[in-house]
Symmetry: C2
Subunit: 230 residues, 2 copies
């Protein structure tokens, strides 16, 4: 709906890939709805995935023994995080909905996107004990994981060789987003696009556009063990 | 035992950290046993976590549309992967046991270590359909995930707010190591070391050294959904 803000965190090297097309479809459809859409194109930005001392501008809280969690928490308070992290935090702060668009790498997100999680979701910004899970600091936001797989739907079925696809969503949806208070919409999964016809891939794009039309009416999933492992 | 080779893939910024100490304890104890120990100290190496075109030396298989999986598979065959990846693959090839030592970041490994998985475990080297899972190309090797957590043991209990710690091991142990044919030893977990006394942290180091003394007699876990979600 008009006025809603969406951040798409996108991790694919190739604009012509299905992931690239899925990202473009989302930008188009959501813009058409009157949403304002921001995109963090991680590879194009050469986004830094490594959590290092460089993320803190100026002096350290404890330069004797470097503790990344403590240092970034303190730097956040002082406004001394590195510019690229602050930039991403601003986008997250503004957004009503976060869409993560990526190819599944090793039952998880590509390292460049994991680095975005590691570096952007700093204590004090995204969570601050006891403000985690339902009372996480990013509550009132929504997240949606949209990804492509190498394996087929059959491999990722319950009893399939790779196990129910929901098993691998636990760390991403519950461990990251829910921990920060973000409500999670059902994932959007395109299984094994490399092994289907061009026509089937087109259908995948249409299905995504279609889903986005009524996305704002969706209820979040119940992000508890039952959803994942029942 | 004498002659066994171990690769420790280590991801912590600070040598004085508990992770740093756990790594040192492993090097010492395993060396004492007569093992030859290699260490990939990812932050010290400034290891590149991003999966990009730079991982392929020379021309691309398909320069019209970049596909990381296809390009690295082809580059591996030609011997045209980047030097840092080849270097790590050599270490993996030599090793009987891989130990991953890291602080848990967001229910998973730090991005720098995820990048190691993404870039090193190339198709043709670590797996090649149908050679995956029990027939993965790295069979006859062992892996062990050794990590520290922020959350307490109670939070990571079944029914705890963060769910059974085993839930989050599925992508790492099954999705990565088992997929490549590697047998998985029980994880070694130090819960919430930042919130215990110096004395308790010392005990954690002693317990790790102790476990390593009989490590080679351990049976791998049964890396199937029952172990994780029973």
């Amino acid at each position: 709906p008009p006025g809603r803000k969406v951040l798409i965190v996108y991790a694919h090297q190739e604009p012509k890939s299905l992931n690239g097309s899925l990202k473009r479809v989302a930008v188009e459809e959501l813009s058409k709805q009157g949403c304002s859409v921001m995109v963090s194109d991680l590879y194009a930005m050469q986004f830094e995935p490594r959590a290092t001392r460089n993320d803190i501008v100026g002096c350290l809280h404890n330069s004797e023994e470097f503790n990344y969690g403590v240092e970034t928490r303190e730097a956040y308070k002082r406004g001394d995080l590195s510019d690229d992290v602050i930039e991403e935090q601003k986008k997250v702060q503004e957004a009503d909905l976060l869409i993560f668009q990526f190819p599944l790498y090793w039952f998880s997100m590509p390292a460049i996107m994991k680095g975005w999680m590691d570096r952007v979701l700093v204590q004090g910004f995204a969570h601050e004990f006891p403000n985690c899970y339902d009372s996480g600091l990013l509550k009132n936001k929504l997240a949606l994981f949209s990804f492509t797989t190498g394996g087929s739907k059959e491999m990722y079925a319950k009893g399939g060789i790779s196990g129910d696809i929901r098993y691998l969503l636990w760390p991403m949806q519950h461990g990251i987003m829910h921990f920060c208070g973000v409500k999670v919409l059902a994932p959007h999964i395109c299984f094994a696009p490399e092994y289907v016809s061009e026509k089937e891939r087109k259908k995948m794009l249409v299905a995504w556009a279609q889903r986005l039309k009524t996305l704002w009416k969706e209820e979040p999933i119940n992000c508890s063990p039952e959803w994942y492992f029942k």
